[in-house]
């Protein structure tokens, strides 16, 4: 095993130790902070899967994140508290929405695909705003966190933390397996040369659609976890700028690299936290740092550490 193969395991162990460390240093805030990073890491990883491997640049991914969050919140309003019902429902609804949106969007290419995904995401956003019964523009509070049973109480910050960590680890494991499996090869082939893929017998539309739906479902899972983390959902989570932020995370982390999405989410959120502690006007240095990445680390953070051409 090379050093690079060990890195994810090291990170996993570090992440597992965070709550203990935070307790030791009496910095409980960081449990929630790292938890939020992990939730967005799931969303960013799912986007990297379709962007980096399938070449599908979606500017509407936050819609699926938001759908997942809203499903959990709305279910809660109607008394459905079980995570075993609400979370799979969140994933299902998000995946179905992605299937629907993808079935139309994937008939376009390039910038038109980007715009159509954006358009559909805006529709979902305005629908959320229009849901006056569920808070509309003001958003919706969750009365409690989902009930998971198994002797675990998600009301505990640390327990929720570990559930999110397990989810993230599982998602990364599955996505990395998929990348190395037949399906991953097909996606990569599509990204590189879709015409040739058709010419050797792959019905590329089907593969892209399945990938889009899977990514949407995973974003929905992240959304479900977010609803629990925040105990509040609002249409702001579905705004197109949120989708743009997810895209930025993937680009920052390194598009097409196995840990690009994760690295990007962690890096962006840590940067935000660090800079916000220094100044109120933290968007400014953040923008400058992103510009530096564009010119000095064009393959993103993961690209800085990878061999040439490796993924």
């Amino acid at each position: 095993m090379t050093r690079r193969d060990l890195l994810p395991w090291v990170l996993l162990m570090v992440a597992a130790l965070v709550p203990w460390l935070a307790g030791l240093l009496d910095q409980g805030y960081y449990v929630g902070f790292v938890r939020r990073m992990m939730i967005f890491a799931i969303a960013a990883a799912s986007l990297n899967f379709i962007m980096g491997y399938g070449g599908m640049v979606s500017l509407g991914h936050a819609a699926f994140f938001g759908i997942g969050a809203y499903v959990v919140a709305i279910a809660m309003v109607h008394g459905v508290t079980s995570a075993w019902i609400a979370w799979p429902l969140a994933v299902l609804f998000a995946a179905l929405a992605a299937l629907a949106i993808g079935s139309i969007s994937l008939r376009t290419r390039g910038v038109y695909f980007i715009m159509i995904t954006l358009a559909f995401a805006q529709m979902v956003y305005y629908l959320a705003v229009g849901l006056k019964h569920y808070g509309g523009e003001d958003g919706l509070n969750l009365a409690q966190r989902s009930v998971i049973g198994l002797g675990l109480d998600l009301a505990s910050e640390t327990t929720l933390y570990y559930v999110v960590l397990v989810a993230l680890a599982t998602v990364m494991l599955l996505l990395n397996r998929a990348v190395g499996a037949r399906y991953g090869r097909v996606l990569m082939g599509i990204r590189e040369n879709e015409t040739r893929m058709e010419a050797i017998g792959f019905a590329t539309y089907r593969y892209k659609l399945v990938g889009f739906a899977i990514a949407g479902g995973l974003a929905g899972l992240a959304g479900a976890l977010f609803a629990n983390h925040n105990l509040f959902v609002s249409p702001a989570a579905l705004h197109w700028t949120q989708s743009a932020t997810l895209v930025v995370m993937v680009l920052l982390g390194g598009i097409g690299f196995r840990y690009g999405g994760l690295a990007g989410a962690v890096a962006l959120l840590m940067l935000e936290e660090l800079l916000a502690a220094l100044t109120d006007y933290w968007h400014l240095p953040l923008g400058l740092i992103l510009l530096a990445v564009v010119f000095f680390a064009p393959r993103g953070l993961a690209g800085l550490f990878a061999r040439r051409g490796a993924a």
Partner: protein, 248 residues
Amino acid sequence: MTLLQVRGLTKRFGALAATDALDLDISAGEVHAIIGPNGAGKTTLISQLSGALTPDAGSIRLRDAEVTRLSAHDRVRRGIARSFQVTNVFRAMSAVDNVALALQAGDGSSFRFLRPVARERHLFARARQLLERVGLHERADVVAGELAHGEQRQLEVALALATRPALLLLDEPMAGMGRDESAQMVALIASLRSDLTIVLVEHDMDAVFRLADRISVLVYGRLLATGTAEDIRANDEVRRAYLGTDAA
């Protein structure tokens, strides 16, 4: 037996008729060359036969089944494969990965998410066999983008062969090749003729006359003449339109 039957094929780009009510018959087992001046519509024809372009009118029948509106990937399943005039391989992947991917398309479902492809040894073994067939086995692990031009053209053919076609459409396989490389390619195509039916678009007249059972001459999207090499060489119209006196 007629393997491929084309009737009244028409394709317009704006006012230009790239393919103009074309009729063509390809017999099973033959090497059928398509020649013609630049702009005659040869690649457009190949694209319509392979499914990359949809014709505006006319029909294409493979073994008596209508395939005119079938997508490219469905035609591959029916046994039609095509190589590209401008090299169109997966440049970031090694040659063996290129061919393995093409083999994967015909080897059961690719909706598999858990098993690493690297474990499917049979795919890679067959890929190397195919590369050997086209003469690339020593360069199998080289990244396609780094192969020499002639080698990339060989890879093009290997990718088309990987789909186990009955009908192979080769679009200028010798494009940009030097004399030695061309000779290799001619030998390769000659070695394939017993297994497949080949439609060969080419400018290299030496290769055409050496390989082709029949030749069709395309001018302005229309078929000017079809026949054996002798027929075509002797045809006055063809000489005027295309061959000139050198090919006598």
